[in-house]
């Protein structure tokens, strides 16, 4: 078996007495699509931030393509391999969409402007907003902004893409267009680690579901098993509540 692209090993994280992550371990294999769900404050987003070294943790280790995050001397290089999409898009408001997408390829990866723009246009086209390339982010709808943010991450050609509640800040009618882009990515074989409450998306696209509560993974199963019969009471309760809402 090939080694996992991301290997999370017994990660613990304390925020001054509050245990945000409590011994989390998870393997993300190449080509797998893992959805992480759970109540707010359960540590899902924190876990993603540990993977690319944005959040320092006290014990355990995360390996990205075999490189340990805690001992890594060159975090910027490691992060190039891990695309990240945020809940609130985090496009840079002072730059056009195209410049948003080309900034890191040029400054972090050392591509020429021409190469970077070529790649950027390719990925903007792929998420369906090439015609918005010269606009500033504030001119775009929420759905378009999030698709621009996805293109920005894809242009670095990462080995794994992480999504942190990518549709939570969107109006309902814009969720679909973002999920479609993510579904297309999954179909093309992208390795994905997705924190979301979109259970429809999880059921359709994911092959594993991780359920977190109070900083721990309380359930980790295949999609059909999870939706058919959650093993833990906590997960059952959560599913009931979230599915009833929809």
């Amino acid at each position: 078996m090939t080694q996992p692209i991301v290997a999370i090993r017994n990660v613990c994280l304390d925020y001054g007495g509050f245990r945000a992550l409590d011994g989390v371990s998870l393997d993300v294999n190449v080509g797998s699509r893992i959805v992480i769900c759970g109540p707010s404050g359960s540590g899902k987003s924190t876990l993603l931030r540990c993977v690319n070294g944005l959040e320092p943790f006290q014990s355990g280790e995360v390996f990205v393509d075999g490189v340990g995050v805690r001992t890594c001397k060159d975090l910027p290089k490691l992060r190039l391999g891990v695309g990240m999409v945020f809940q609130h898009f985090e496009l840079y408001p002072h730059l056009s969409v195209l410049d948003n997408v080309t900034l890191a390829p040029m400054k972090a990866k050392g591509l020429s402007r021409r190469e970077a723009e070529e790649k950027a246009r390719h990925y903007l086209d792929r998420v369906g907003i090439l015609d918005q390339a010269d606009k500033f982010p504030a001119r775009l709808s929420g759905g378009q902004q999030q698709r621009a943010a996805i293109a920005r991450a894809l242009t670095l050609e990462p080995k794994v893409m992480m999504f942190d509640e990518p549709t939570s800040a969107l109006d309902p009618e814009m969720i679909g267009e973002v999920l479609k882009v993510m579904r297309d990515l999954a179909r093309d074989g992208m390795t994905m680690l997705v924190v979301t409450h979109e259970m429809g998306f999880a059921r359709e696209v994911a092959d594993e579901i991780v359920f977190m509560d109070k900083g721990r993974i309380v359930e980790h199963s295949g999609v059909s098993a999870f939706f058919a019969a959650p093993k833990t009471a906590r997960a059952r309760e959560f599913l009931d509540r979230i599915l009833l809402k929809i």
Binding site: R79, Y92, A104, A153, L156
Partner: protein, 213 residues
Amino acid sequence: MDWNVVSANFPLLMRGLGTSLQLAAVVIVLSFPIGCLIAIGRLSRRRWLSAVCAGFVHTLRSNPLVLILFWFYFSVPLIIGRSIDDGASVIVAFVVFFAAYFGEIVRAGVQSVGTRQVQAGLSSGLSYAQTMRYIVLPQAIRSMRPALTTQCIVVFQGTTVAYVIGYHELMHTTSMIAERTVRPVELYSFAAVAYFAVCYAGSLLSRHFEKQA
């Protein structure tokens, strides 16, 4: 009223205004970059560095400018054992004093950009310095422009404090002529108009930036 006293002394008064503007310009050009360094220091994760910078800012902001000036003018020569030039002590005192204020403006500007933008930059593989340079500072400076302009006006007004050690800026020049000619009303009125013109032009600029932001 005898306004002739103003026209008779006009070249001298203008030289005073020129000295005031020059002093303000030198102070701004030197204290802004120092303020930037202090702001970066205050935001540093190194506890001792941010404590030192915070201490500097709080000390300076909790003292009147005139006292800081006296301190440099009277105490520093005693400490170092030799006299220093009037102009030098004025500039050093003003730069130190206003660097603290510029530092606070820059710190607030950088913080207004928010950590999520920093995280976005870092997660795309940019270094911390690159994230600051390409993402945080351009946004921070845009939002800081009105406050920076206002602070420049305050610096210009602050140059009047140099009067107390006989530095020949506009306030001192005006009072010298007023004493000599015994025409304080006309001369101080003229000085008021001159200060108003410069400061009002500055606040118009500040308002312009505010509208842009």
